[in-house]
């Protein structure tokens, strides 16, 4: 008899194709837009025609009389509606007044979308205009129009953080810098527009097909809205056409669709048009930011003081809470002993901002990393050395309470600098600034710190997993964590394969049905690989222990001397096969003990919910990165060409090389769009470019060459050593671009975006 042996076979770090990619490449994936239920009605919303006005009268009689219309609702028809959003200042249907052009006034459910649209035109609304408030710097002036009676000062939220003593920091400083930065609106522009389908069964239970990134949190809110037990709500998430944070809050169209489904007794589908998507969806938070920084002659940072005005728009969503992240960058990206942070989010009649990949960090890093260059230049220190001098080290606990158990910032800095030739190029380009010719070349650097091990912004930041093996060693992994295109499904399957020694084809991931999957806080804060990954590993290890204990009995070996490899139970020392995994599972199942291998695990990261002063170790791990950009500026036209990005990212460990490259590349190009091409223009409360013709996403020919290096710091808490990385790559780009423009032209631009027009103006104003 020949002895069969098998070797350890790991998928970690390999280039693993996404499990859902073949379906998507064949056009077979069904998104919410592609789902149609029998008897389904189509819903449309009437948005306000005015930016700020009292609603004097709404008449829906003609709309209701249109053949094919099943329901027309206004605020008066839905007394059960409750305010939504972060501050619960947002009624889904507005009855008394409109506060922005996006406001919902009425909604129709009809046989077809065309009839619903026709019905909207028949709804008569009489307005009485109110004075506009569209400049956030004027919101707190005496006599400013009041947006919400509940906030007569127009203040939506205030955030304050401090450590040390700014006065002491100032006294210790040899140089102090102060600048104002202006960060514009951009929007997610997901390729798949927003949509939802709601259906009530005969018992009054709600089934919702939703694109939400936080199904378990939303169950509760919808339950409150309907006055039913959350257990009677089931949310199914079809594959989603892009998330990026846009689906972290409830928006009015969702409860409105519920109300229509309830009233008509039919399934109701609501899907936006692209124009609606642009006009009604949340944006990235626009910020006016004042930064003061102090430094000693030897290059030691002394203090940082950051004050911002956040334009809250008419309603409060996650955008207002971006200070959570912004203050982390201000207090802890570099070592700084004295720090003060203050944000006031003020109401206006503008669109409101939600969460968006990077969550305020693009804005904070834009200011902070420009100051780093400015200080270095004033001190005559190379900006790389200046950053290295103040960079965090592993083991550090910052005054804000963040504990950097692993920290690859210094390695990121030196790697990105060396691979790009940053130091030499920066000197050379600065020397060529005044040479003849309109094309000026520049190189710029920025670094970032972001949560990489979840973010405990709720009392729990956990994720549950249920795992089962069938008689043929096929694994079903039921996870609370949603797949939003980022590849979590594939990474979770890989992590399970690593524990159970089964091939990737033997794992099915179920991740889209709240009646089946255990609780998870949601897809945000770059947390899914870390949190759901650790949860999946926990469940798989319990299954492994059970299988090996049973195999130990059969083989007379100790469980710790056994291993699972390539679908076999083997002796760990030499890989000798003892029996196949499926045979072991069947013998467990069909023995007199009759057992199935099914396990559960709930992973709660060892992070803490920050206190009222925003102090505490909010994440179980922290991600770091440095990006260097190389650009050419045409001073005759203001056109910038982004030629190359050299990125070094501390990702803990690479789990899927193909997937992580995709995350970094996509993030870099999203950051490029934020810096250079995207400009969501709001004039007098109106979005003037709600289409892809005038809202410019980066296109295929415009992308830079990308050189990406992964720094593997092997985080002790991370799944197989990995940290979260979803948001990190978008964060540095605008800051690095600003520093590169300065290197190329000598002009420091503190206002985004760097469109040709804006760059041209800035150069001419500076006499270039």
């Amino acid at each position: 008899m020949t002895v069969q042996t098998v070797a350890k076979d790991s998928l970690i770090g390999k280039r693993i194709a996404k499990l859902d990619a073949p379906e998507k490449a064949a056009g077979k994936t069904r998104y919410i837009h592609d789902i149609n239920l029998p008897g389904q009605l189509h819903a449309k919303i009437l948005h306000s025609a005015r930016v700020h006005a009292k609603i004097k009268r709404i008449d829906t009689a003609k709309a209701k009389a249109l053949p094919g219309v099943h329901a027309v609702i206004t605020a008066a028809d839905v007394p059960e509606q409750r305010p939504i959003g972060v501050k619960k200042d947002h009624m889904p249907l507005k009855g008394d007044k409109v506060r922005s052009l996006r406001d919902e006034i009425a909604a129709v459910a009809a046989e077809t979308e065309e009839i619903a649209e026709e019905a909207l035109k028949l709804i008569e609304v009489e307005y009485e205009d109110l004075p506009l408030l569209t400049d956030p710097t004027k919101s707190r002036e005496p006599g400013a129009p009041v947006i919400h009676d509940s906030a007569p000062d127009n203040v939506a939220m205030v955030f304050d953080y401090a450590n040390g003593d700014i006065a002491k920091g100032e006294a210790e400083s040899d140089l102090i810098f102060e600048d104002e930065f202006s960060l514009h609106y951009v929007t997610h522009a997901c390729m798949g527009v927003s949509g939802v389908i709601a259906e009530f069964d005969a018992k009054g239970n709600l089934l919702l097909y939703s694109n939400t990134q936080v199904p378990f949190l939303h169950k509760r809110e919808f339950a409150d809205m309907l006055g039913i037990d959350p257990g009677r709500i089931r949310i199914i998430q079809p594959p989603i056409g892009g998330g990026f944070g846009s689906k972290l809050d409830i928006y009015p169209f969702e409860p409105i669709t519920l109300f229509l489904a309830k009233r008509t007794g039919r399934p109701v589908k609501m899907v936006f048009s692209r124009e609606e998507e642009f006009a009604v969806s949340p944006t990235r938070q626009p910020v006016l930011l004042k930064l003061r920084s102090g430094v000693k002659k030897d290059g030691t940072l002394t203090f940082r003081e950051c004050t911002t005005v956040h334009d809250n728009g008419a309603y409060t969503s996650w955008g207002a809470t971006t200070p959570f992240v912004m203050m982390q960058t201000v207090s802890s990206l570099y070592r700084v002993p004295h720090c003060k942070y203050h944000t006031v989010a003020v109401y206006t009649n503008n669109p409101y901002a939600g969460s968006f990949r990077g969550y305020g960090n693009l804005q904070a890093t834009f200011a902070l990393e420009q100051h780093m260059d400015k200080m270095a230049d004033a001190l005559g220190i190379d900006p790389l050395q200046f950053r290295l001098k103040n960079a965090q080290d592993p083991g550090e606990v910052t005054p804000q309470g963040m504990h950097f158990k692993t920290c690859g910032l210094k390695e990121c800095l030196t790697t990105a600098a060396e691979r790009s030739g940053y130091v030499e190029k920066r000197k050379a380009y600065a020397a060529q600034r005044n040479a003849p010719g309109s094309i000026k070349r520049g190189v710029g650097m920025a670094s970032m710190l972001h949560v990489g091990g979840g973010a405990k912004i709720y009392p729990s930041d956990g994720c549950g997993t249920i795992l089962k093996l069938d008689d043929f060693a096929h694994v079903t992994l039921m996870t609370g964590a949603s797949e939003i295109g980022q590849g979590s499904e594939t990474v979770l399957a890989q992590l399970v394969c690593e524990e159970l020694g089964v091939p990737l084809e033997s794992v099915t991931v179920v991740n889209n049905d709240t009646d089946i999957t255990p609780w998870d806080v949601g897809v945000h804060a770059s947390r899914t690989t870390f949190i759901a990954g650790n949860s999946a590993i926990g469940a798989a290890r319990k299954a492994r222990d059970k299988i090996l204990a049973a195999a130990a009995k059969v083989s007379n070996l100790k469980a710790e001397d056994l291993d699972l490899r390539q679908g076999q139970i083997v002796r760990a020392a030499d890989g000798q096969v003892i029996m196949s995994l499926s045979k072991m599972l069947r013998s467990l199942h069909f023995s007199d003990k009759a057992e199935l291998v099914m396990t559960t695990h709930y992973y709660e990261p060892p992070s803490v919910h920050q206190d009222k002063e925003f102090k505490g170790d909010v994440s179980a791990a922290y991600a770091w990165a440095t990006q260097v950009v190389e650009i050419a500026v045409d001073t005759d036209t203001g056109i910038i060409t982004l030629e190359k990005v050299t990125a070094a990212h501390d990702v803990g460990r690479v789990l899927n090389q193909l997937g992580i490259e995709g995350q970094i590349e996509g993030g870099i190009v999203m950051g490029q769009g934020y810096a250079m091409t995207e400009d969501y223009r709001v004039v007098d409360g109106r979005v003037v470019n709600p289409n892809f013709r005038d809202y410019k996403l980066v296109t295929a020919p415009e992308i830079p060459e990308m050189d990406i290096t992964f720094i593997e710091t092997m985080d002790g808490e991370g799944p197989q050593g990995a940290k979260g990385v979803g948001e990190a790559p978008a964060i540095c780009m605008a800051a690095a671009m600003a520093n590169a423009i300065e290197n190329a032209t000598g002009v420091r631009m503190t206002k985004l975006p760097f469109t040709p027009e804006n760059v041209y103006r800035a150069l001419k104003e500076a006499g270039k």
Partner: protein, 157 residues
């Protein structure tokens, strides 16, 4: 109801007849009348490329074309491309090179890449980038999509 017309055309290799309102776009006909949901609505204005199809072998935004104009022509959608064994290397390359994330732009990208490679099987990287200019992607940063089309082009040669 608006005026309707009967049209006959070849759809993914099969001749078929449909009665469509004269105001209906080809995209709406494909999705709502013929139940071919692989072609996506992204903007309805010809700006994003999610609805790209082939008309007589050339790529076109189906949202901009009236359905009645399909009369007498050959229409190929992602479903037709996916059923064509000749396109297998291209779709495999999208999978293997990591060109797919949320996947919403992917059908349009695959159809557009089919057109680019049909026109020029030896398309250079630069030509591929130009060829995909009208198709927007929000997830990938395009690099892996370009890589996929380039590797399929090499395989064709």
């Amino acid at each position: 109801m608006s005026l309707a017309r009967e049209i006959t055309f070849t759809l993914n290799g099969v001749s078929r007849t449909a009665t469509v309102p004269v105001t209906m776009s080809t995209l709406e006909m494909l999705r709502d009348v013929l139940n071919l949901s692989g072609t996506k609505y992204g903007c309805g204005e010809g700006e994003c490329g999610a609805c790209t199809i082939l008309i007589d072998g050339k790529s076109l935004n189906s949202c901009l074309m009236f359905a009645v104009d399909c009369d007498g022509r050959t229409v190929t959608t992602i479903e037709g491309v996916a059923a064509d064994a000749k396109s297998q290397p291209l779709r495999d390359a999208f999978v293997k090179e990591g060109a797919v994330q949320c996947g919403f732009c992917t059908p349009g990208m695959v159809v557009q890449a089919t057109h680019v490679l049909a026109k020029n099987p030896k398309a250079s990287r630069d030509e591929i980038q130009r060829g995909l200019e009208g198709n927007l992607c929000r997830c990938t940063g395009y690099k892996k999509i370009i890589d996929a089309v380039e590797s399929a082009a090499k395989e064709c040669v």
